[in-house]
Amino acid sequence: MRSLLQSDLLDQVRKAGLYVVLLFVTFLICFPLLWSLSTSLKPSTEIFATPPTLFPSEYSLEQYKSLIYGKDMYFVPGTTYRPKTSPPQHFLSWFANSIIVTFGSTLISVVVSTLAAYSLTRFRYWGRRFIPYFSLLGYMVPSIILVFPLFLVMVKLGLTNNLWSLVLGYVSISLPFCMWLMWAFFRGIPIELEEAALIDGASRFRVFYEIVLPMAAPGIIAAAIFSMIVAWNDYLFARIFINSIQKLPLTVGVMHFFEGVHVNWGLMMASAVMMTLPLAFLFMVVQRHLVAGFGAGAVKG
């Protein structure tokens, strides 16, 4: 029989062990983020120093300042003429565009897919068993081929060079999977709770809002994250559908720092950091609510 003290100690050791593993795994997986962070804090002259250093010998915020204040990117010595447009000027527009497009497409995907999935699992009508499988079709055709006819649709709708084309394009990618995810979740939510409430006189909408949605919350959050990443990450659609530099989202915009044969690593890395941390932070906050929503939940086995 172990004493209380011994099992406490064992517990501590176990916890410490887990932290070590977590730290190691996180370090490995997030190394590129660390490297980006480190490079973004170096002044331009140190970036290509050999041997490569993980910790900057000289910290500098010049890369971030360039992005925010739109410093001229092209290295032109002396008093040579500088072109009026230089990509970093548009960084904040790119950021705003990405946020608009991500938020818009996520909202639409999540709402539409949740409604559809609930409908498929709670109501009866012809074709409801087909619909999920039909929605898989889009994923089976590589997007490099699909982008052509989809672009033609956007042209017909007059949406080229318009952020709506991206919103709708991203919805078309994320919607089917979100629907599947919510479908899987709704199937796992027992119907008895709803039926009990309905018998008690609650309306369908109230049942949906007060009973079903909270239980499906983790699925909704997963679906939202998926949609956000689809929109945040896309390059192809944005490159094809959008022409003007100020309407581009971050992915395409930031690639302007890859000047063909020369990567402005300082700007690129600072951008990578700025593109990652907000979403990572958002997830950190959101998933806390995930747990809270479930700590007290009484879910049937």
Partner: protein, 462 residues
Amino acid sequence: MTDDKLHNDLTRRDLLTGTAVTAAGLAAAGSMLTRPSSARAQGKSGVVRVWGEPGPYAGVAVDGMNEWAQKNAPGLKFDIETIGWGSVYVKLMTDLAAGQPANLISVESPLAYQLMAEGLLEPVDDVIDRIGRDRMIEGTKWEYWGKWKGHQYVVPAHHQPHLLMVRMDIINELGLSNPDTWTWDDLLNAAKTIHEKKKMPGIALALGRNLCTAYHFAALLHSAGGRMFDVANKFEVVFDSPATVETLEFIDQLRPYMPKGATEYSFLQVVDSMVTGKAAMVFYWGRVYGRAAEEAPEIFKNIQSFNHARHPRTGNRYNWNDFQGWAIPKQNNPFINEVKEAVAYYQTKREWLIRYVHSLVPNVSPVYKDVASDPRLLEHPFFKTKKDTIMTYYVNSLKYASNTGNELLKGANPLAGIVHGRLILAQTVQKVILDNWTPAEAAKWGAQQLESVRKEHFRLVI
């Protein structure tokens, strides 16, 4: 209990309100997101879409065009769209397929020839007349940029050669001869000596599956006297030749003195090797100087560029030259006249041409002799220390310029764009380097690929 009890009582007003709110929300969002797209008006107002490759110079040209617009067509704005080389083909195809190409594009000659032959471009003879038919630097002609079936379709923007770039401090330290006098054997010997004595790669070329490899290979092939197609003889494939075999052998001989990772190298990695001091020699365009000046001043001090090593038998020293120019897509383009005016405007204003060239010295070389001899050209800081190198890029390399769009300057070759798209040349090199085929086998394979291109697209060349 009837079903009715279980349903919500949706009233008509609820439904309408809901719909109205949603619609209003969408409309509001839509008006925030919607901005006027390029007007299909009668050329008086709107946005003129101009495509450029990555780099500052296209932006300078567009500034010049906007100066024209301010004076002559105030409703128009020229907007630069920088398309990376990886995306150019995809975006061009999609835009053309949808009938919405840009109004003016900057292209290198192989792609220009392909577009011309497909009938997609507007002739620009009138613009050339305005600019002045006799303005070209000695040794170069308008047609190198894009002449097809009697018409000129491209207005030259600049020319862009790649040269032998060398770390002179290492050359001098090892007592090697002046690179300007080298033959292929001397180059090989230098690479070997550097590798042995300094324990570093003597030379770095691109050997990956990409355009840089193709360009390096093409220059060497042309120096050896080889070509892909015989333009005068119905574009017969003449790639399977001793010259091709010789070129592949030469690259194979240089291989041990290149960085071991060269089989993945593309444009970026070749420049990296020079700027980080990992290789002593490269074949490259002038961009390296700008990058070295910014990131590695010590290296910048010591590099110099020369015309390529001569082929021992033919004596040729061809370089790949991009022959970059402006082309006007015909399709659905309401601004053709305005674009022609604007291009003619900035091309006849020497200040703009000088600014264009100064934006990336010495990568972007002037095309007109009055610009090349204008004293203001020398006002760029690099001229203090790199004058010889710069003038080699600008002028002295022109007589050795060649590319696959116009092989050995024997005639336009619209199939080159397709060959590059399919990376046939790069794959041929990789067959020798990676798959260990003999150069003869690889040449045969390459010739087969070229033959299939010729067959499929023959209507372009008849």
